[in-house]
């Protein structure tokens, strides 16, 4: 399977600089890059030099709005060209979104196409955040909030321009996506392995305790600023019956759907307590659970991280509690 990484981040946050540096690294050779630019005339692809073994394909228009189908066609096309030997037999794909893109529909496109699924697999989302302007961008641009919310890795760019990361930005990133490590990068310099060999579930990632939506100290136009996005974790000491987990995800999808921006977790399944299940979903679309060979650490609790809009933690907690109780009752009455 060829891993696909989605590189996103708001306009001017340093995606192209980062990509340009990465593509010069030998460790990042044999990469197919799909760059999406908003507007009729693309420019970014001309700003990036690649090594001999990597190449760039350009799309224009906004991936998330109008040409999601085109993304699927483009991915199919680069695979065909790889098979024909007309391009480098690349080992990974990077999709650089336009700075205005909502990443969720792009992730859906990659995850949901049957033909692509036989050869490509989503390996993660990397989001660039500008250390200088990031806090202001998050306050003004709802798209940037979603870009941060769905990330597996956050890359703090332009760190050479600040003495230290502004506290307001650090707090905001931690509130929006506490499970994503924040990696500093100056002029795009960063170890590729820290970004693109990342697993979707990183057991070293931080988990927020279950919490009510965080407080905001300033007066805001909530709709405009989209500060209704919250992140919280559900933690269970006892293994969860498989059917309870399935029902929980089904009900969440049914009632929260588009507002469930991201769910990822490691779960102790009652029927398979020695092999934890890794689950990962974007809105109502989930991967089938992947069972690890063993627990990655001593911590054997089930931990589900949810990033959602307008979803109170209390609802998710109460839902899982009630479904677990119902399933256990049903099982004990047999």
């Amino acid at each position: 399977m060829i891993p696909v990484t989605v590189l996103t981040g708001f306009l001017g946050s340093g995606k192209t600089t980062l990509l340009g540096k990465l593509l010069k690294s030998p460790a990042f050779a044999r990469t197919a890059v799909i760059i999406n630019e908003f507007g009729e005339v693309g420019l970014d692809h001309d700003l990036i030099e690649t090594g001999d073994e990597s190449f760039i394909t350009l799309q224009t228009g906004c991936l998330c709005c109008t040409i999601r189908g085109d993304l699927v066609l483009t991915l199919a096309d680069v695979l065909r060209r790889r098979d024909e030997g007309t391009v480098t037999p690349f080992d990974r794909v990077v999709i650089e979104t336009s700075g205005l893109a909502d990443p969720a529909p792009i992730l859906h496109a990659v995850m949901s196409d049957d033909a692509l699924a036989e050869r490509l697999t989503l390996s993660g989302v990397v989001t660039t955040v500008d250390a200088v302007n990031g806090a202001a961008t998050l306050a003004r641009q709802p798209e940037s909030i979603k870009q941060v919310a769905v990330a597996d890795r956050l890359v703090l760019t332009k760190t050479d321009l600040v003495d230290e990361t502004p506290a307001a930005l650090s707090d905001r990133l931690a509130a929006l996506n506490p499970s994503a490590p924040v990696l500093p990068a100056s002029f795009g310099d960063i170890d590729p392995a820290r970004l693109f060999d990342a697993r979707i579930w990183d057991p070293s990632g931080k988990l927020a305790p279950a919490e009510e939506p965080h407080e905001h100290h300033a007066e805001h136009d909530r709709n405009r600023h989209d500060e209704r996005i919250t992140c919280f974790a559900l933690i269970r000491e006892q293994p969860i019956p498989a059917v309870a987990l399935t029902l929980f995800l089904e009900v969440l999808a049914e009632h929260c759907g588009a507002d469930l921006l991201r769910l990822k977790g490691i779960v102790a399944i009652a029927e398979s307590p020695e092999r934890p299940a890794v689950i990962h979903g974007v809105q109502h679309m989930f991967h089938a659970p992947a069972f690890l060979e063993r627990w990655p650490s001593e911590d054997r609790r089930s931990r589900l991280v949810l990033i959602a809009r307008d979803l109170p933690c209390a609802f998710a907690e109460a839902l899982l509690d009630a479904i677990e109780a119902e399933v256990r009752e049903t099982q004990s009455s047999r």
Binding site: F286, A288, F315
Partner: protein, 97 residues
């Protein structure tokens, strides 16, 4: 069905109205739960097998077999404009970890 489960469902229904942005009240009585939202009043009680719950609305009782079905039934009444999504499982696997 234990009292604990009824209490958990009571808590879930109250949290659900909040999550769905529906103004209403959820009250637990001795043997049932009442939801009052707008012009609607729903009575939720334990059901006889194969139903786990009954939902009574305007004198008509219907059985539901699970908490998932209970929430679906309640939401159709108190939040009729909601468009449910269905869980989809992606054909592509997770990256082997």
């Amino acid at each position: 069905m234990t009292d604990d489960t009824v209490e958990l469902v009571h808590r879930l229904l109250a949290a659900s109205l909040d999550a769905w942005h529906v103004d209403g009240r959820v009250e637990r009585e001795a043997d049932h739960i009442t939801i009052t939202a707008g012009e609607h009043s729903l009575l939720i009680a334990r059901g006889a097998p194969p139903f786990r719950w009954t939902v009574t609305l305007a004198g008509r009782e219907r059985g539901v077999t699970s908490i998932a079905g209970l929430l679906r039934t309640v939401r159709r009444v108190v939040d009729p404009d909601h468009q449910a999504s269905r869980l989809r499982i992606a054909p592509s696997p997770l990256v082997p970890s």
